[in-house]
Structures are given as structure tokens and as C-alpha cells.
């Protein structure tokens, strides 16, 4: 009985080792993918927040105060990315809206958009 257990240990250890290697490889690939896509692909979290903010901007039944509350609820670390995504996805979003969402000055908006791979529409 004891010897049977010992003979099983070696294949299990091999499988676990292979699994560890696979997980490490997957993690490295995921990191590389994130690095490649980061400037142009918003994360799921950013996309969800942008959708929420854009819905508020487009909703004519909301008051300015209600819109502002939605804009201010965006988590601080995501504000720049959410602002750029809102501009990309919603033609009603002006430089002023981007500045309000991102918490930057209006004159900083073109640079912010460029940094996130979004082309500002100049008149």
C-alpha cells in the first residue's frame, strides 16, 4: 500500500509542475497583451464607467446637477481613461466634458486624448 502511494506521487508532482509552468506562461502572455492593447483598448471597468457617464450626458431628462453627480462618481484612478473613452464613443462629448470627467483643464484635453490614442476633433 505504502509503495503504491509513493509511485503515484511522482506523476502528480510532474503534472503540478507542468501546471505551474503553464500558469506562469499564461500570466506572462496576459501581461504582454495588456501592454500591447493598453493605449487603445479600454478595460472592461473603464468601458462600463464610460457607458454610464455617456448615458447621463445624453439623457435630456437629467438636470445638470444629476449629470455632475454621475461624472463625479467615476473613481479617480480611472478618470482620464473614462474621459477619453467617453469622447471616443459619444459625439456629444466636447472638450469641456472631457475636462470635467477627467478633472483637468480644458486646455489639457487634446494632450489627454492623444495620450489615450483618441484623435481630438478640431474645428
Amino acid at each position: 500500500m505504502f509503495s503504491e502511494v509513493r509511485t503515484m506521487e511522482a506523476p502528480i508532482a510532474n503534472v503540478l509542475e507542468r501546471l505551474d509552468r503553464l500558469m506562469a506562461e499564461m500570466s506572462a502572455v496576459r501581461e504582454e497583451l495588456t501592454r500591447l492593447e493598453l493605449p487603445h483598448m479600454p478595460s472592461m471597468q473603464v468601458a462600463e464607467w464610460a457607458q454610464k457617464v455617456n448615458a447621463a450626458i445624453n439623457d435630456p431628462t437629467l438636470s445638470q446637477k444629476e449629470r455632475e453627480e454621475v461624472v463625479k462618481s467615476v473613481p479617480t484612478p480611472l478618470r482620464h481613461a473614462v474621459a477619453a473613452e467617453c469622447y471616443r464613443a459619444n459625439k456629444n462629448v466636447t472638450f469641456g466634458w472631457v475636462a470635467a470627467i477627467a478633472g483637468v483643464l480644458a486646455l489639457e484635453v487634446p494632450d489627454l486624448l492623444h495620450a489615450h490614442g483618441v484623435e481630438p476633433e478640431f474645428a
Partner: protein, 189 residues
């Protein structure tokens, strides 16, 4: 710094106010900051004439920019001190409109447009989306490309100088203007 004032705006671009119709022209933050960055604020005065004004929100944005180290905004603020650029105030009538315009109320585009709606003013911007929304609200809009076109049509700069200015805007400020052929189209067309 004194800028020449030129109010004759006939025969070169239908987007600009007609001669003899005294309008107040409000500049947004970005258009001022672009011409300030290039050190060419005088071109705005030469093309648009007087009076040129800014809203309280635009004034605040310029002051905040300077406080954050955007030194190139200093000449624009200096024009306020000399009175060549004036700041309007927002009264009760405009406050009511401010709540209705579809822009963030603390931004320059919002109080500028509220004022333009109340007083038939002209709004000057380089934000295409703000320009479109302002036009939809019935506000007379002058875009950055209208200013560039006016510069050569009025003979203030040569076509080559305007082309060089556009290149400078691209390289120094990152502004890529669409429809550049339209800027240089024959005025008689």
C-alpha cells in the same frame, strides 16, 4: 502690448459677423491658449476685431492654467489687465440659460454659450463638437479654420504664411485641422 483693431469684416467669409453689426465675440479657453502658445494672439484681434471678451469660466481656466505652470497663458491674461480683452459677468438671465445648455456648467463653453444665447454673441472655438452644438442652439460660431482663412483672404498674412502657421499648430500644439483645402479655397467660389 497693443494690438491693432480691425473691424472691417466684409466680403471674405460668411462665417464671420457682418460689417456694421456690432457683436460681442467670446473666445473659448482652447482657442486663446493655442494662439497664446504660438505667440500670435494679435492675429485674433486683427481678424475678429473688437470687442473680444471671455466668460468668467474661461478667465478662471486661464488663471488655473497659469497657476499650474502654463506660462504661455500669461500674455492672454495680461490682455485682461490692459483692457484689450474683457471679461463679462454672468447675471441672473444667463444663469437660467446656463442650467439649460448641454455642457458642464463650470466650463468655459457653458457660460460663454449661455451669454451668447442671451445677447446674440459670437462664440469662437477650436472644438468641433462644441461648435456643432453651439450652432444647434442658434449661436453664431467662428471656428479656428475660419480665422485661418480670414488671415489670407483679408491680406493680413500670405497663403504661405498661413500654411506655415498651420504647420506650426501641428508641430507645436498637436492640432491637426480637417478640411485644410477649404481654408485655401478661392473666395469667389
Amino acid at each position: 502690448m497693443k494690438f491693432p483693431i480691425c473691424c472691417t469684416l466684409t466680403g471674405w467669409n460668411q462665417s464671420l459677423p457682418e460689417q456694421g453689426w456690432l457683436v460681442t465675440t467670446l473666445l473659448d479657453t482652447n482657442i486663446l491658449s493655442v494662439f497664446a502658445k504660438l505667440g500670435r494672439l494679435e492675429l485674433l484681434f486683427q481678424v475678429l476685431g473688437a470687442p473680444l471678451v471671455i466668460s468668467p469660466n474661461v478667465q478662471r481656466e486661464l488663471q488655473s492654467g497659469l497657476a499650474l505652470g502654463y506660462e504661455n497663458l500669461r500674455p492672454a491674461l495680461a490682455l485682461l489687465e490692459t483692457g484689450q480683452l474683457q471679461a463679462i459677468s454672468i447675471e441672473a438671465a444667463e444663469q437660467g440659460l446656463l442650467a439649460r445648455v448641454p455642457f458642464p456648467p463650470d466650463k468655459g463653453e457653458a457660460d460663454s454659450l449661455a451669454w451668447c444665447i442671451a445677447h446674440a454673441g459670437t462664440f469662437v472655438t477650436n472644438d468641433e463638437r462644441a461648435a456643432r452644438r453651439a450652432s444647434a442652439l442658434g449661436v453664431h460660431v467662428v471656428r479656428q479654420r475660419d480665422i485661418l482663412r480670414a488671415l489670407w483672404v483679408k491680406g493680413l498674412l500670405s497663403i504661405e504664411q498661413v500654411r506655415a502657421l498651420i504647420v506650426e499648430m501641428e508641430t507645436r500644439v498637436g492640432i491637426i485641422l480637417p478640411d485644410q483645402d477649404g481654408i485655401f479655397a478661392d473666395p469667389s467660389d
